[in-house]
């Protein structure tokens, strides 16, 4: 064994020792409980809980609704977030810092605080409706609370930073000279954007879409408070099964289904994204 080999081996042993404690914690309190949950939901070889979750029309509708909401939220955050990220990345230093502060301040603020504020603002007599009526935009108050609209507004607010920040990073890494070269050669701005900036920022878009979609699937607080019981996502269904009915087996089966769907969505989107941006 050469001294270099010995040094490499020592470094590897050190790295394993440093990784050990955290890895053990993750295995014991993250991986093992999830596997145990999986085992419990098929306890006694019975798939009854899954059968109930996947054949009952009510539960299937909750699963479908969850996916629908996640998809709408992802599209909305992309449509609103991309322009913001683009403006932030292409502004001067001062405006960029202001923009980052505007995105990070709500990002760091408690979701409960923000949801509470939306409840205050979106009611029939809330700030938003009264402002819109005052400006003559609408005649009668819009139903914005305790329905899908309220949940979408709240979720888009929570998840926008998760879209803006990766896209911002991607736009910032595009060499501005490429766009200048295209414009110099006679391409209109919009075509330079479509042919150069957009393709080069697809990796940021993919990261944002993956994050927003998978995080949306597990949302609990926003639908619970802004949905007024009329918008039920899978996480709310799980909590209700435990809190009101103490039905742990069924909650376990629903959790396993939610986990499987989330992992499938994560894997699927990142796969599509990889082939697109490759």
């Amino acid at each position: 064994m050469t001294p270099a080999d010995r040094a490499r081996r020592r470094a590897a042993a050190g790295a394993i020792a440093l990784s050990g404690p955290a890895t053990l914690l993750l295995l014991a309190l993250f991986a093992a409980p999830l596997l145990r949950l999986l085992a419990l939901s098929v306890a006694g070889g019975s798939l009854a809980a899954y059968e109930r979750a996947l054949t009952n029309e009510l539960y299937l509708r909750v699963i479908f609704e969850t996916f629908k909401i996640a998809a709408i939220v992802t599209l909305l955050t992309l449509a609103l977030g991309y322009p913001v990220a683009y403006v932030m990345a292409t502004s001067g230093r001062t405006w960029q810092l202001v923009g980052i502060a505007f995105v990070l301040l709500p990002f760091w603020t408690s979701i409960l605080v923000r949801t509470y504020a939306w409840m205050v603002m979106l009611g029939r007599n809330g700030v938003v409706n009264r402002a819109l009526i005052g400006w003559g935009v609408i005649d009668s108050p819009l139903p914005l609370l305790n329905n899908l609209a309220g949940v979408l507004i709240g979720m888009v607010h929570v998840l926008l930073p998760y879209m803006i920040l990766p896209v911002f990073n991607a736009v910032r890494n595009v060499d501005p000279n490429l766009v200048l070269a295209a414009v110099g050669l006679g391409a209109p701005r919009w075509r330079a954007f479509l042919r150069i900036t957009l393709p080069l920022t697809m990796n940021g878009v993919a990261a944002g879409v993956t994050l927003v979609f998978t995080l949306s699937l597990g949302f609990f607080i926003t639908p619970a408070l802004l949905g007024g019981g009329r918008v039920v996502m899978v996480a709310n269904l799980i909590e209700e099964q435990v809190r009101e009915l103490l039905n742990w087996a069924f909650a376990g089966a629903l959790s396993t289904i939610l986990l499987a769907l989330t992992l499938a969505a994560f894997w699927g989107i990142s796969r599509i994204a990889r082939t697109r941006s490759a």
Binding site: A31, L37, V84, W108, S110, I111, L112, N169, I238, E239
Partner: protein, 264 residues
Amino acid sequence: MRRLRPGRLLLAGVAGLVYLFLQLPLLIVFPISFSSAQYLQFPPPGWSLQWYERYLNSPNWLTPTWLSLKVAVATTVLSLLLGVPLAFGLTRARFWGRDAIEKLSMAPIIVPTIVLSIALYGLFAKLKLIGVWYGIAVAHTLLALPFVVALVVAGLRDFDVNQELAALGLGASRWRAVWHVTLPQIRPSVVSAAFFAFISSFDELVVAMFLGGANMTLPKKMFDNIRMEIDPTIAAISALQIVLVSALLALAARFGRGGGMPGR
């Protein structure tokens, strides 16, 4: 000097509206929190500090606040003690299983919190850890670890290892070299990681709801309160939290790395 094209103006307008949308809920809680009305009313008919007094004089609110602070501090310490060495291990050498460990350490981000809560509840109930504050802190550590590891790994990738090797070559022990050369240079990443761990734990609801038992954290107390009535006390607490977070954010911008976002 940049010429303002119509397209650019339109984009800036869209961005301005989105910025406004993002700040709106933060701005609205301040006037409500200083309201003199007995119930929620906007705009407030007059000003008073009654909601702050109510919060600061009520053990029903202060007990959960202290519990949340205790849990958040423990989470911060624990996730740094585990996450920083893990980041070193992942960046400093190749070994069998390293990629698997890296994926495992990131996995808590994609697993929905409610799923992890249900899974941990089963285990913690057996271990009689339901309602115990450090049980919540351990669970919060799992949720904070991915961000701590990502931030510190990014810091270590930017750090030139030759500096540490130089210290070793000059006769420093490995610990002294890391302590005096490496850690001071990755400090911004570690500071951001600490802020992230603290705030993510302080705000976390779902895990605390399941594992807290009868012991309520501040988010659990707020959630129950919001579900029952829209009480302006929440606005006062919200305003205090926003001020706290802004102060921490300013500190993180001063001493931290990229405002605490991983990958920047």
